[in-house]
Amino acid sequence: MTNHTTRTGPVIRTSGLTKTFTRHKKEVRAVRGLDLEIADGELVAFLGPNGAGKSTTLRMLTTLVPPTAGSAEVAGHDVVRHQREVRRALGYVGQGNGAGHQQRGRDELVAQARAHGLGRADARRRAEELLEAFDLTELADRPVSTLSGGQRRRLDVAIGLVHAPRILFLDEPSTGLDPQNRVNLQEQVQRLHRELGTTIVLTTHYLEEADAIAGRVVVIDHGVVIADDTAARLKSALGDLVSLGFASPAHAAAAAERAARIDGASITVSGADLRVRVAHGRDLAASYVADLAAAGTPATRLEVVGPTLDDVFLDLTGRSLRESNESTDTTEGAAA
């Protein structure tokens, strides 16, 4: 496997990466000037609603669609000028099934290995190794069409890993899987990352998934990156939500006044209810409530909720990611 990057430099680098489609005579700017660097060994999730441009970005990085403008390098190779080198370096698990439905699992693994230049014996050995590692040995001689969704997904991931790529791309890997298989897949992805040090980039519109597995979350909306950090930092930047109830609106107003003294607090009062969003809210809540009691405006109810990535998305865009997913559930497949 060839690569011209050092172990420490970025393995993926994009600069002004842009994709514009023409659809029904309308110009769709799917990805707009994306600048991104991903270091060797990172586990990155592209998070955003359907149609945000995350899959299109992935398709440009994997040479499936050429960028309209800008450039991207994967493993040190330009995705337009050196497509074959890029393809040789990366593993790809697409939205559909990589394994042909008429094929058998073992045959597809061998075929993929041969495509990557492995000799006949090596290809067969590698196929067996992967079948074993993904617990597919028993299913290896069945037509792919007879496997369950979760089994097929495992086979797809195995196919993507045939050549032990340094970079693995997964496009919406858990879409269509039941919760149990989704968790299994997430565990596999994390294990790959941990044990092999593979750089992994995946797209998802599941907040929980991005939160659970990725070290770094790149939030994409309308074709631009609107946030890029660890899930923990994205959430802590937003702060916890402290909700309080009071005996009267007057008490709530007095409490709001006191809360306004806390640095960076954002406050909403509605009747006898008060909501304070503030960094480290969970640490401040106890003394705040004690202060309120001492001041004669005691809280009658207290709730502290840590932020979710959905809150982060809501804060950044004014929309809930959950609702965005529901309202535009099929558009990206078509746009991709």
Binding site: R87, G100, A115, G119, L130, A164
Partner: protein, 270 residues
């Protein structure tokens, strides 16, 4: 579906490097694509019968109705046409496999693999040779006990000609599949619309000897006509140089045209 089946057990660690021998060239890529395409056929040889259902029905129901021809039996005249019809059916439908692979995602996986784009088409097209030869063997085996004289050399040569034609037609079928991406109906509409005129104009089912002028002209313009004529000679054990050469030339023309169109479609689809 059992949840237990879907739960992967804790497993052995994977190797972090694999040794790739060399970067495969065009021929190796083409070979790999062809072998992959052939796997389902070889795993389930019965599958070649699917494309033969119609031709075999025609053979069973049509052949007994044919009047005896002056030299040789009606079967002798009819069988080469059925071999060609089988090749025509199989190769023209082969694009539907690609349609399915485009829908389910495996075509996309191959596009992201290092396989040469041209190999993806040529390998698929070359694979058509195998089912055509298998089908020809089945047909000949079925009819030989009846009033069909087996001329093995001619049958072999004729089958190769049919295979050459199938490479071209298969390639055109793949091109059609690429063009009708996401619109499966388009693929089948075009395929079904074209297949019967081509078949009838080549005189596969009925001789076109008494055809009116316009029909005769249309038949003359159909490359399959020359293939069928040559097949009939070869299956009868005759080797008239001009007829056989015309047949091979027509099959080769279709092969070249098919590959050119197919490769263009592949590049466009990129």
């Amino acid at each position: 579906m059992s949840a237990v089946l879907d739960t992967p057990t804790r497993t052995t660690p994977l190797s972090t490097t694999v040794t790739s021998e060399r970067v495969p060239g065009f021929l190796a890529d083409t070979w790999n694509v062809m072998v992959r395409e052939l796997r389902p056929v070889l795993r389930e040889p019965v599958s070649v019968l699917f494309a033969m259902v119609q031709p075999l029905v025609f053979l069973g129901l049509f052949a007994p109705l044919l009047p005896e021809v002056p030299h040789g039996s009606a079967l002798q005249w009819f069988v080469p046409g059925i071999v060609v019809m089988t090749a025509l059916m199989g190769a023209s439908m082969t694009g539907s496999n690609l349609t399915q692979e485009m829908m389910t995602g495996s075509h996309e996986r191959l596009l992201v693999s290092p396989l040469n784009r041209s190999s993806l088409l040529v390998g698929r097209a070359l694979k058509e040779v195998v089912p055509v030869l298998m089908q020809a063997a089945i047909i000949v085996a079925v009819v030989t006990p009846f009033s069909f004289d087996l001329h093995l050399g001619g049958v072999l040569l004729g089958s190769l000609m049919a295979a050459l034609f199938a490479i071209g037609l298969g390639s055109l079928s793949f091109a059609l599949a690429l063009v009708s991406k996401g619109q499966e109906w388009l693929f089948w509409t075009v395929q079904q619309t074209l297949i019967f005129p081509v078949l009838l104009l080549a005189g596969v089912l009925l001789p076109l000897d008494g055809a009116p002028g316009w029909l005769a002209t249309a038949s003359d313009l159909n490359p399959l006509t020359y293939v069928v004529e040559a097949e009939r000679a070869l299956f009868a054990g005759d080797y008239p140089a001009d007829t056989v050469l015309a047949g091979f030339a027509a099959a080769a023309l279709v092969a070249v045209l098919g590959l050119v169109v197919g490769l263009r479609a592949m590049r466009r689809a990129d």
